[in-house]
Amino acid sequence: MKKVLLAALLLGCFVQFTFAQDRTISGTVSSSEDGGPLPGVSVLVKGTTLGTITGIDGEYSISLPEGKNIIQFSFVGMVSQEVVVAESNVIDVTLDPDVKALNEVIVTALGVSRDERSVGSSIQSVDGDKLSAVREPNLVGSLAGKVAGVQVIGSSGAALGGTQNIRLRGINSLGGGSPLFVVDGTPIANNSFSPDNDGAGRDYGNLASDINPDDIESVSVLKGPTAAALYGNRAANGVILITTKKGNKKKGLGVDINQSTSFENVYILPNYQNEYAGGYTQDFLTFNYDPAIHPESWSSFDGQKMLNYAADESWGPRMDGTPVRHWDSWLPGEQFGELRPLVAQPDNVRDFFDTGITVNTGVSFSGGNDEGNFRISANNISQKGVMPGSELTKNNLSFNGSQKFTDKLNVGINFNYTGTEGLGRPASGYTGRNPTNSFNQWFQRQIDMDRLRQYKNPDGTYRSWNIRSPLDARPLYWDNPFYEALENAPEDRRDRVYGNISVGYQFTPEFKVTGFVRSDFYNQKIEDRIASGGLDLDFYGVSQRFGKEDNYEILLQYDKTFGNLSLSATAGGNIRKNIYSYLYEGTVGGLSVPNFYNIDASVDRPTTDSYKQNKTVRSVYGSASLGYQNTIFLDATLRNDWSSSLPVANNSYLYPSIATSFVFTELMGSSDFLSFGKLRLSYAQVGSDIDPYEIAQVYEVGTPYGSFPNLGVPNTSPNPNLKPALSSSYEAGLDLRFWNGKLNLDMTYYRNNNKDQIMTLTVPGSSGVTGAIVNAGNIRSEGFEVSLNGTVLEKGNFSWDMALNAARNTSEVVELAAGIDNRQLQSAYWGMTLNAKVGQPWGTLIGTGFQYAENGKPVIDEDGFYVQQTNKELGTTLPKFTGGFNNTFRYKNWDLTAFIEFQGGGQFYSVTKMFNNYSGLGEETAGLNDKGNPVRDAVADGGGVRVDGVLEDGTDATIYVDAYDYYSSLFGMHERWIYDASYVKFRELRLGYSLPASLLTKTPFHTANIALIAKNLWLIHSNVEGLDPSEFGVGANGYAYFESGQLPGVRSFGFNIKLGL
């Protein structure tokens, strides 16, 4: 579209007339970027003043005087070409973009498109078509590894639309914080509907996943406060600025079709032991017939070998083929009374999961003329998950249009609708609702998954492997996983609309005023259920959330060039209104009519929650950018916010930013080697406020007793003296382009000081409150980002492009409140905590660990058990570096994209691993010990786990400990279950083929591309077996420092067809 605009501008500049003589040369000029025609290209006969420009279809015709045979083609932003005229009178030319000229515009704050050279802060832009080679449906997920300084904390594909959390430049507020998402100037919500704190529950995804990736023209990542200062108090963690596709004049009808189908399979599971069955000891139980309590027909069972069905651990008898009574042999059916051999079921967990299918179909129509343009798109994603019974459907509709009513008055509209419907979204975390939690932590290894598939008895009751005893088939701790997945499937539905209407008036060529009305709202309903007849009380709960944000904005823009000096200024005002409401009802005491899922079925008074929240922020802001000779630019911004949630005395706050950009190659002259160089320096401040209702004393309303109301003093004491928090940021960057842009290097250093954080300080509960909201502290994030991209090789029909980016960030807790040197951020299962500790990186893991003697060996007691040290620092959660590496190869019509993402450092705590071994499911709990004896055999028989350590009296000792006792003793020994979160992941692979134009001539299509795509192809490197450290996106806050019952990793293969009409 920018080409169209430029063409229009240039129309007035080149008024060159041609004189018909001798020979007429004609042809079409097109762009190498998209193959489309280039209008407005200057065509000049070298050594003359004879010239013309190409028409709207890129065609030209020029007379070549006698003796002249070179034609020059030039166009702003493209590399000029000279063509020597030979025999043919038809010369078609393809122009390449001129990277050196760097006239690429990028979208900056407030949606203002600016020449990249004038921008003095770090903004990294990704084109929509480069976001994901494999049609990742969640925008956030597709940013992983694509932009330096972005850390995505993903979730397993098994979660079906699960939350993907994003961090920009580490941690910039005590509670983490995520960037602001802005679509075409409209801030949109990115709340996550996933379980908080302990991470147990169902994940309904993050709201930014409502954006249809096919609608995205480009994503600009405004990384720090400098770039984002104009967005105000929510931009302290950066801004993800999304520009959607607009209509333009193009070849063909302007219809694009994008279809892909892919198949997902579980591929990451822990390694299980396959030697021992369920139980606590290796001895079989024996059925003893007792006529007093057993039916007479059972007398023949007397003496049969049984398993301990009540156990949810796997320390039982060897799976050596001995005929035993399996759990189902006590249940009605033809298998009743069967003795079957006890054999290993190595794939039982894998067998539980289905093959998922994702069908993603999008179509868009676009068009335009000089007065206006439009684009309409529709997209449908239908998914069937790997978790049995899970389904997700997502429908997008969007419309973008703009129309010029006069030369000066332009009206635009942007409308987006997303409807999401989910069924049976899987639970994750440490909960009975999560079958993976059972399989990996509390299970019996000999279970034949196919025998659980029939999860109902003929009388409608449910069957579980975990029966209490032969006489009592009720489940003890665990329901049948199929019952869990299929009968307790929740339903959810979300309708989301966002967009804006704008009216712009161009008073003079320099001065323009635009008004915007923007809105974003969603309505989310979640219905949760527990079917009657299971282990837990039957239940129905329904929640409805409504969130809305309206923005009323006015923007004044002034652009003028005075000789060598250019000025670009904006001023604006905005009123933002947020509304949020939440309604919840849940049955209590069970359902009065079995499987009647309605609040009316509540046996006791249902729990209810009705919550609403209002907030308004008013803002004025302005910016000015001065340029000198297109070489030095100076930017300044100023913004003042008034927030309704702060105390009146402190609710107004002003903050500035200043940035400079210096294109030094303009002074030293560019060479073939260094064709462009720019230095950036900037400083900015951003103020932030708080959630509403935190400054006045109120009382909590609790569950009533009969008709007595129940009030409570809140656990957090309010603070009537809060003031805005302030982040300041320094940034310096260098942008270098070599060999005419064949290789581009961008480096940025930044340092953010996030002061006066508004935080809920954990205070001693004995004060009567457990938290106090205060302004305090400083978190300093500092880091270095580098991106390198370019064309490695270009020869004939072959090209190889690569893009590498990496970032190193440290976020240090410089200061907390006076007298406080540690703040517990969260507590995971069994005492492991995440902390902000003064003088340390944010995210210190503290828990119980080994005590080490001077020689480095652990201290053990005389029985060989490790002596514990509590309150020990065990690691830090933030990675040392993150990055991605993308390679695209093209040969003739073939294209191959391979994308690898990586992360180094950071630690996490694995509850899965702890119980996987505690309960004897894990591979390491079986096999032989160093003596060559089964590790599970009695110590007296040469078995046991070898423990090398130092006794408390200082002497070295080697003691063999019974395997069951050994792993039991490691419960709560957090240090043993801390793992390094580094990984290298082959995320995306695409092999595409564009049908040659010759094949398409007889079809209505002008472009056609088919591709094979693969996602999460291979976890190339990880320091923890059986888990994927890139998929800990459980928990709305995205702390990602522990996992428990993580859903298995999923790999997908599919194909993609793109057609242009």
């Binding site: 606590y280 209490r468 003890l476 837990d536 729990t607 008034w642 109120v698 009382y699 409570g712 409150v769």
Partner: protein, 467 residues
């Protein structure tokens, strides 16, 4: 220029009216609601499971870690920020001249303050018997003191006894009774008697270490009039206010009658045993669960082959004892034995057992007579403490904190630690350790308390536990 214009247009920018007034939580305190809230927390004392395990009244069935003293650090924050803060606020609102007139719909100022003081004493007594030294004088001050210092247990006990004495005297039956009172339904006389009864229990607790103060408080309280009926927590037959044992058995079967309890009661043909325990699912009568064995051993015992907590104790609306007449009678028997009161120790001892029989609905004259006639039960002055120790332990069934405290004080019954104990000393805990938040964020005061009291573990004896 634009900025300037904008500023002028938006001069009243900082005025948002009442937009920031919380619509979700009332700012107006209804003190009767605060009292109900505090009283609901009594359930977390009378429904506690860990202390019942310490006292070996019940055994865990399969996952036996709590019976084996795995947990060292216990959290008291919920008591402070929950009921205690509510009660403190009731006292403040009824004391402050600006607010005391606004809260009269919930009862007279004096009566509200008195009830709040009594309940505060009840909670603090439970807490100090678990942890020993506690933030007390400097506690509950909210943002005025985020690092409250600890007081010695001696100080706390002295003050609790004083509070109970003053609160009993403060009750004014001539003025409006308290509202929101789910425990005594506004019966101010019952509150007065509860204050005296609790004062008696607390006085007896310190009798080994501070006999003079113990005697004075005990006799004063006794003469003031004590509870005549069992004081029970009234659970409702609905899930929001149900008996916690009912909730525990909804999805799991974790608690069975312990062999310790069973093996003492069974030979005496104690009729309460059939209330305390159900018969096994496999029809083998009452079969106890061995106490404190490993998970592996416990898990190998078939679920159908052990007796779980008696159904009557875990029905959804089943009441649980807060303070019983049996408890008071045992206390009086002990006081008589000490010569504090000139009444018959034996009479009170028998009355205590009778009260307990009646509490569990198993009293018949013949059955009672036969029971107390047995040599192991029959009173003797010489073995008075031992007799009281055993029978009180049986009577305090499910009153875990009280049973555990009295075991520590009387050293009866003779309990052997869990065979597969997980704590380092392998002994039965005699206190619980402070929540780690105290160590981490109230560090100086915590360290001072630990240096006075002794190591912050399960084995440090409390001030009153001198024997």
């Amino acid at each position: 220029m634009g900025l300037l214009a904008g500023s002028i247009l938006l001069t009243s920018c900082n005025d948002f009216g009442d937009l920031n007034t919380d619509p979700n939580r009332p700012s107006n305190p209804l003190t009767s609601g605060l009292l109900t809230g505090a009283q609901r927390s009594v359930s977390s004392v009378v429904g506690d499971a860990t202390s019942v395990l310490y006292a070996q009244q019940l055994s865990e069935k399969q996952y036996t870690e709590a019976s084996r003293y795995q947990t060292i650090y216990f959290n008291f924050n919920d008591f402070y920020s929950g009921p205690l803060m509510n009660l403190q606020r009731i006292i403040e609102l009824n004391t402050n001249e600006e607010t005391k007139g606004d809260v009269l719909s919930s009862g007279s100022n004096e009566n509200q303050i008195a009830v709040a003081r009594i309940l505060k004493a009840y909670f603090f007594a439970t807490l100090t018997d678990r942890w020993g030294e506690l933030p007390y004088t400097e506690a509950l001050k909210g943002e005025l003191d985020f690092s409250p210092a600890y007081d010695s247990q001696e100080f706390i006990y002295t003050d609790l006894l004083k509070e109970l004495k003053e609160a009993a005297a403060q009750i004014d039956p001539g003025t409006a009774a308290v509202e929101g009172d789910l425990l005594f339904d506004g019966n101010m006389e019952s509150w007065r008697r509860f204050a005296n009864s609790l004062r008696m229990i607390l006085a007896l607790r310190i009798s080994d270490v501070s006999p003079q103060a113990a005697q004075t408080n005990f006799t004063e309280a006794y003469s003031g009039g004590i509870l005549l009926t069992d004081f029970m927590y009234p659970y409702l037959g609905e899930a929001n206010n149900q008996n916690p044992w009912y909730g525990r058995y909804l999805t799991r079967v974790d608690y069975a009658i312990s062999d310790t309890m069973h093996d003492y009661m069974k030979p005496l043909n104690d009729p309460r045993l059939e209330v305390y325990a159900d018969t096994t699912a496999s029809g083998k009568g009452i079969v106890p669960m061995p106490y404190g064995i490993s998970n592996a051993e416990a898990g190998s015992i078939t679920n159908a082959d052990v007796s779980y907590l008696g159904m009557a104790m875990r029905e959804q609306g089943a009441e649980l004892p807060i303070l019983t007449t049996a408890q008071l009678e045992f206390s009086l028997a002990e006081a008589a034995l000490k010569g504090w009161i000139s009444e018959s120790a034996e009479d009170h001892y028998l009355k205590a057992i009778e009260s307990s029989f009646r509490q569990y609905g198993v009293y018949t004259q013949a059955g009672f007579d036969a029971f107390v006639a047995q040599p192991d039960v029959a009173w003797s002055d010489a073995a008075g403490i031992e007799k009281i120790g055993y029978q009180k332990w049986v009577a305090l069934f499910l009153q875990g904190f009280e049973a555990w405290a009295e075991w520590r004080r009387l050293d009866y019954p003779a309990l052997a630690p869990a065979t597969a104990a997980l704590n380092s000393s392998k002994e039965i805990p005699v206190r619980q350790a402070y929540p780690t938040t105290e160590r981490d964020i109230n560090t100086d005061n915590y360290l001072e308390a630990v240096s006075r009291q002794g190591e912050d573990g399960l084995d440090t004896k409390l001030w009153w536990d001198v024997k």
